[in-house]
C-alpha cells in the first residue's frame, strides 16, 4: 500500500494535436499520481478538452506518448482504456434508458465481470446519490441528476483514473457543492483530472493545478506552490498615513505599487531584490504609520489572469 501513493497513473509526454494547419495543443506534459486531483485550467479554446480527448483515446495525438498505469495508450488501447473513466463536456447519455439500465450498460461495456456487476452498479449509484432515481428514464431527469449519471458512468468500473471535463457546468450552487464533495471522495481512491472554469472549485478540491494557454502549459504546480507564486516577490503593506504611490515606488528594488483598497498597497519587487527592509526604514523615517506588512498570497485567479492575459498581448 505504501508504494501505491507514489504510483504514477497518468503520464503524458510532449502531447501535440494539429487540426489541419491549426495547432490546438502543443508539447503538453502531464503526470499524475494515485490519489491526486489535478485541476486543469485555461481560457476557452486553450486545448483542455482536446487534451482530455487524447488522454481518453477519443482523439489521436499528432505526436507524443500517453501511458495509463504504465500501459501505452496507442499500443494497447483497450487495456489502457479499461483503466479510465471519462465524463466528457457533454455527458454521453441515452435518454431512452433508465438510470440503472444505463449504468449497467456502461459496466458491461467496461467489461465488469458478471458476478461483480450488480454490486458495482449499486455502489456507483449510491456514491453518486442516484439510488432513488435508479428506475427513472434519464431523459426525465434534471440537469444536475443527468450530470451525476454521467459521473456514475465514469466510475462504475472502478477505474484508476477519472477524467472529468467541466463536471459542474450548468448546475446550481447546491448541486455544485454536492458534485465537489463527490469529486473529493473520488480523489481518495482514484487519480482525478478535473477541467473547470470555476477557480474556487480548484482551490478547494485539487492538489495540483495545470494551466493551459494557447495549447501549451503555462503553469504547473501544487496548490501550495501556487500561493507562493508571488510570495517572495510581493508584499502587502498597510500605512495609516499613506503617501502617494509614486513615493513608495522610488525605493530601490520596488518594481510596482498598486493600491489594494483602503490604506493597503500591493508592492511588487524587481527580480532578485528584497527591499522589505528599505521599505520599513523609509516608512519609519517619513512616519507613514506602518501597521501591516505581509507577504501577499496570490489567489489562483490572480495567477490565472496574469498568465493568460500576459501572453495575449505579446505576439
Amino acid at each position: 500500500m505504501t508504494d501505491q501513493s507514489t504510483e504514477i497513473t497518468v503520464s503524458a509526454q510532449g502531447l501535440s494535436r494539429k487540426f489541419g494547419g491549426h495547432t490546438a495543443v502543443s508539447g503538453v506534459n502531464l503526470e499524475l499520481k494515485r490519489g491526486e486531483i489535478l485541476g486543469f485550467l485555461g481560457p476557452n479554446g486553450a486545448g483542455k478538452t482536446t487534451t482530455m480527448q487524447m488522454l481518453t483515446g477519443n482523439l489521436a495525438a499528432s505526436s507524443g506518448a500517453i501511458s495509463i498505469c504504465g500501459i501505452d495508450l496507442f499500443e494497447r488501447p483497450t487495456a489502457a482504456k479499461a483503466r479510465i473513466g471519462y465524463l466528457p463536456e457533454h455527458p454521453p447519455l441515452y435518454r431512452e434508458l433508465t438510470v440503472r439500465e444505463y449504468v449497467d450498460l456502461a459496466a458491461r461495456l467496461h467489461r465488469v465481470a458478471k458476478s461483480a456487476r450488480s454490486a458495482a452498479i449499486n455502489d456507483a449509484l449510491a456514491r453518486c446519490g442516484l439510488s432513488d432515481v435508479a428506475q427513472k428514464l434519464i431523459g426525465t431527469l434534471s440537469k444536475g441528476y443527468q450530470q451525476r449519471v454521467g459521473i456514475a458512468q465514469a466510475v462504475v468500473h472502478q477505474p484508476d483514473v477519472v477524467i472529468l471535463d467541466e463536471p459542474t457546468i450548468g448546475l446550481d450552487p447546491n448541486q455544485i457543492r454536492e458534485i465537489r464533495t463527490l469529486i473529493s471522495e473520488l480523489g481518495a481512491n482514484y487519480s482525478v483530472i478535473l477541467s473547470t472554469h470555476i477557480l474556487p472549485e480548484v482551490e478547494s478540491v485539487c492538489d495540483r493545478v495545470q494551466i493551459l494557454h494557447h495549447g501549451s502549459t503555462v503553469f504547473s504546480d501544487t496548490i501550495a506552490g501556487l500561493k507562493q507564486f508571488h510570495g517572495g516577490r510581493m508584499v502587502l503593506v498597510g500605512l495609516k498615513r499613506p503617501p502617494a504611490a509614486s513615493d513608495i515606488a522610488t525605493i530601490s528594488g520596488v518594481a510596482r505599487v498598486e493600491p489594494a483598497g483602503g490604506n493597503l498597497f500591493r508592492v511588487s519587487f524587481t527580480d532578485n531584490a528584497d527591499p522589505t527592509e528599505n521599505l520599513v526604514r523609509r516608512a519609519v523615517e517619513k512616519s507613514w504609520g506602518l501597521y501591516q506588512l505581509s507577504p501577499a498570497q496570490s489567489s489562483l485567479e490572480d495567477v490565472f489572469v496574469q498568465l493568460t492575459r500576459k501572453e495575449e498581448t505579446s505576439p
Binding site: 481518453t56 466528457p88 454521453p92 431512452e96
Partner: protein, 256 residues
C-alpha cells in the same frame, strides 16, 4: 461485447416509434399482397390441375411475398439504420463507446448485429404468413428455405450499406437519404451492368458489378437455387461496407 452493443441497439430501436411504424406498415403491405395472390391462386387452381407438372402454391404465392419483402426492405432499412451512428455522433454519445475498452471493429460489428437481429425478426414474422398455409395444404420447404436465406442475406447487405451511410454524417435523415441513394443506385446499375459487362467479355468488372448488386444476387434464391457465387458476392459486399465503416470511424478519431 458485440452482443452488449447489439442488445443496446435493439432496445433503442424498440424504444423509438419508428421500428413499430415500420413493422406495422410492412405487415400491412405484405399481408395485402399475400392475400391477393392467395385469392388469385384459388381462382386459377381448377385450370392449373389440367396443366402437366403445374407450379405449386409456394412458387405462385410464397415466392412473391419474399420478393415484396425485398423491395420493402429497400425502403425500410435506410430508415431503421439511419440513427445507428449518425444519431450517436449528433448527440455525442459515441464517446461512451469509444472511451470504453472496445475496438472500433467490435463497435461496428455490434451495431450491425443489432440491426440484423431486428431485420431477421422482420423476416421471421413474414415467414408466419406462408407457414399459415400449412393449415390447408403443403409447402415446398426447399424453396421456402432458399427464400428465407436469400432474403436474410439481402437484408444483411442492405444493413451493411445503410450502416456505412450512417457513419458518413451526423444527421440521421441525411444518412437515410444517402443509404437509399446507394441502394437504389446499386439496384439500377446491378440490374444491367453485370450481364452487360459479361456479354462484352469482361469477366472481372462483371464480377465486381455482381458484388455491388445484391438484388441481382437474390434472384437465384427466389428460384430455389442456392448459388454459392451469389452467396459469396453478398458476403463480400457485407464485409466491404463493414470495413469501410470501421475505417471511416477510425479516420474521424485521427482527423477529429
Amino acid at each position: 461485447m458485440i452482443f452488449t452493443i447489439a442488445g443496446k441497439e435493439l432496445k433503442a430501436l424498440f424504444a423509438s416509434p419508428l421500428a413499430w411504424v415500420v413493422l406495422t406498415f410492412m405487415q400491412i403491405i405484405l399481408a395485402f399482397g399475400f392475400l391477393k395472390r392467395l385469392d388469385d391462386f384459388m381462382q386459377i387452381q381448377p385450370q392449373l390441375i389440367q396443366v402437366p407438372n403445374p407450379p405449386g402454391i409456394t412458387e405462385l404465392v410464397v415466392a412473391p411475398v419474399y420478393a415484396t419483402t425485398a423491395v420493402v426492405l429497400l425502403f425500410a432499412v435506410p430508415l431503421l439504420a439511419m440513427r445507428l451512428i449518425a444519431e450517436e455522433r449528433r448527440n455525442q454519445t459515441m464517446v461512451l463507446l469509444i472511451s470504453a475498452p472496445l475496438s472500433m471493429t467490435e463497435i461496428v460489428a455490434g451495431k450491425f448485429v443489432g440491426l440484423l437481429a431486428f431485420l431477421l425478426l422482420v423476416v421471421g414474422i413474414t415467414t408466419l404468413m406462408p407457414l399459415s398455409l400449412l393449415l390447408g395444404g403443403r409447402l415446398d420447404f426447399g424453396l421456402l428455405a432458399s427464400l428465407i436465406i436469400g432474403v436474410a442475406l439481402l437484408a444483411a447487405c442492405f444493413a451493411a450499406v445503410a450502416l456505412y451511410a450512417s457513419c458518413l454524417t451526423a444527421q440521421p435523415f441525411v444518412a437515410a437519404m444517402i443509404a437509399f441513394g446507394l441502394l437504389l443506385g446499386m439496384l439500377l446499375a446491378g440490374e444491367t451492368a453485370a450481364d452487360g459487362l459479361r456479354g462484352r467479355g469482361w469477366p472481372v468488372p462483371a464480377a465486381l458489378a455482381q458484388v455491388l448488386s445484391p438484388l441481382k444476387n437474390f434472384e437465384p434464391f427466389a428460384k430455389g437455387v442456392l448459388d454459392s457465387y451469389s452467396v459469396a458476392c453478398m458476403l463480400l459486399l457485407i464485409a466491404t461496407f463493414l470495413i469501410l465503416t470501421i475505417r471511416r470511424l477510425d479516420a474521424v478519431r485521427l482527423r477529429g
